[in-house]
């Protein structure tokens, strides 16, 4: 064999349309996990303003909460956290060998439940805008 061809990752990403439920669950779980890690850094940055005194901390929080985009991002954050938790529970059952045949259904159930909780949270998060 003199030479061979490596099709590489670019062609891998091109296959997203063929992903099945388990694969989408994996993609979403990774994505939501990274978003939550990113949020933790932001969260710590906001909390650290308390070091400079209660006034700065209060002003920072009030300033952020006054922005519509922050309120919408909080809704998104809730969606991300809820899906990650539900899929985490799903994976726990998979690890225990429970409901392996229904792994796709449990993924869809996680999505539906996430959607329902997110929609229900909208009035609370966007109140007073």
């Amino acid at each position: 064999m003199s030479q061979s061809y490596d099709r590489g990752l670019v062609e891998d990403f091109g296959r997203w349309a063929e992903f099945s439920a388990g694969m989408w669950a994996w993609v979403f779980h990774k994505f939501t996990g990274w978003v939550l890690i990113g949020y933790l850094f932001t969260h710590i940055a906001v909390l650290s303003t308390a070091i400079e005194g209660p006034a700065l901390y209060t002003n920072t929080l009030q300033g952020l909460e006054a922005l519509a985009i922050v309120r919408f991002m909080e809704v998104g954050l809730l969606a991300v956290a809820v899906f990650h938790i539900l899929n985490g529970i799903r994976l726990l059952f998979v690890d225990l060998g429970v409901g392996l045949d229904a792994q796709d259904k449990s993924f869809y159930a996680s999505l539906v439940l996430t959607g329902a909780i997110t929609v229900a949270s909208v009035p609370t998060f966007l109140a007073g805008l």
Binding site: S4, Y5, R7, G22, W26, D95, L96, L100, Q103
Partner: protein, 293 residues
């Protein structure tokens, strides 16, 4: 008159060798000519039927050949072939090779989903060419080599890494497990049922190809872990050897790299519950390491 025998007939009855030798080839030639004529008629009939029915299959086949300059850049070739009831993707490829392009390269052998040599990426999924009916696929049928393995030529991929991973789990009973003399090596029915599905693996590599985690890394992959499961769960293997197997599959590149995508289980042409087996091995690995009792 009645006793008169023509000269030629009498000679033939006597079996003159010079005439028999001439007559036999002539008769054979006539038979061959008729056979050829019938064969031509059949082909013409088949062609006219396929033309009138207009049932053709459109194949888009991945092509690559590093030794031919015009094919050294991968591309897709189109083949339009007459459809026949019961035609598999492998049949379609063979037809394309025999009638249009003899350089089209792909692996195949048993044609009955046992040898595992014709695993291909067909319409976005890893499938066996001989097991996949063309009628079950959307047109055009897109045929590519297995992903995550380097392409050697056209639809042929380099399986060396896959075989190395399979060999890494010692996929066989070792000598010390075999009883001496004529003693039978018994296995319970329950144990046979437990490992039954895992014994069906045909080493086609479809599962490992579908696994993103196995791509490009040293992860053993679902096929090798399933093979380890087949022996680790077998009652006939001694405890010491079973422990050795667990040491192999518990390593960094063993069962813990599985991220439960279920891709392997979805594509397995033999319906082996690969993810289930991997998860069970994970649990067994935990049990063997955590000794609270």
């Amino acid at each position: 008159m009645s006793t008169h025998v023509p000269e030629s007939e009498s000679e033939s009855e006597t079996g003159a060798p010079e005439q028999t030798e001439e007559q036999i080839p002539a008769a054979q030639q006539r038979r061959l000519a008729k056979k050829q004529e019938r064969s031509d008629q059949r082909e013409q009939r088949a062609e006219s039927e396929s033309e009138t029915d207009e049932q053709t299959v459109h194949l888009k086949v991945f092509r690559y050949d590093p030794e031919v300059e015009s094919k050294s850049r991968p591309r897709f070739d189109d083949f339009h072939i007459p459809f026949k009831k019961g035609m598999t993707v492998l049949d379609a490829l063979i037809y394309s090779r025999d009638h249009y392009d003899s350089s089209l390269t792909f692996r195949h052998s048993c044609r009955q989903a046992i040898c595992g040599s014709d695993a291909l990426f067909i319409n976005g999924a890893q499938r066996l060419g001989c097991q996949t009916q063309v009628s079950d696929l959307d047109d055009p049928v897109r045929i590519e080599p297995l992903p995550h393995q380097e392409v050697v030529k056209d639809l042929v991929v380099d399986m060396e890494h896959f075989y190395e991973q399979m060999d890494a789990v010692d996929p066989y009973f070792r000598d010390e497990d075999v009883p001496s003399g004529l003693e039978e090596q018994n296995q319970t029915r329950e144990n046979r049922e437990k490992i039954k599905m895992s014994t069906r693996c045909i080493w086609c590599g479809a599962c490992t190809s579908s696994c993103n985690i196995a791509a490009g890394g040293n992860y053993l992959g679902p096929a090798a872990i399933n093979k380890a499961y087949r022996f680790a769960m077998d009652d006939r293997e001694s405890d010491a050897l079973q422990q050795e197997r667990f040491e192999t599959i518990e390593q960094e590149n063993g069962v813990w790299r599985c991220q439960t995508q279920f891709s392997c289980t979805n594509v397995c042409p033999k319906d082996i519950p690969l993810t289930e087996h991997i998860q069970e091995l994970k649990r067994e690995a935990v049990k063997s390491n955590l000794k609270f009792w």
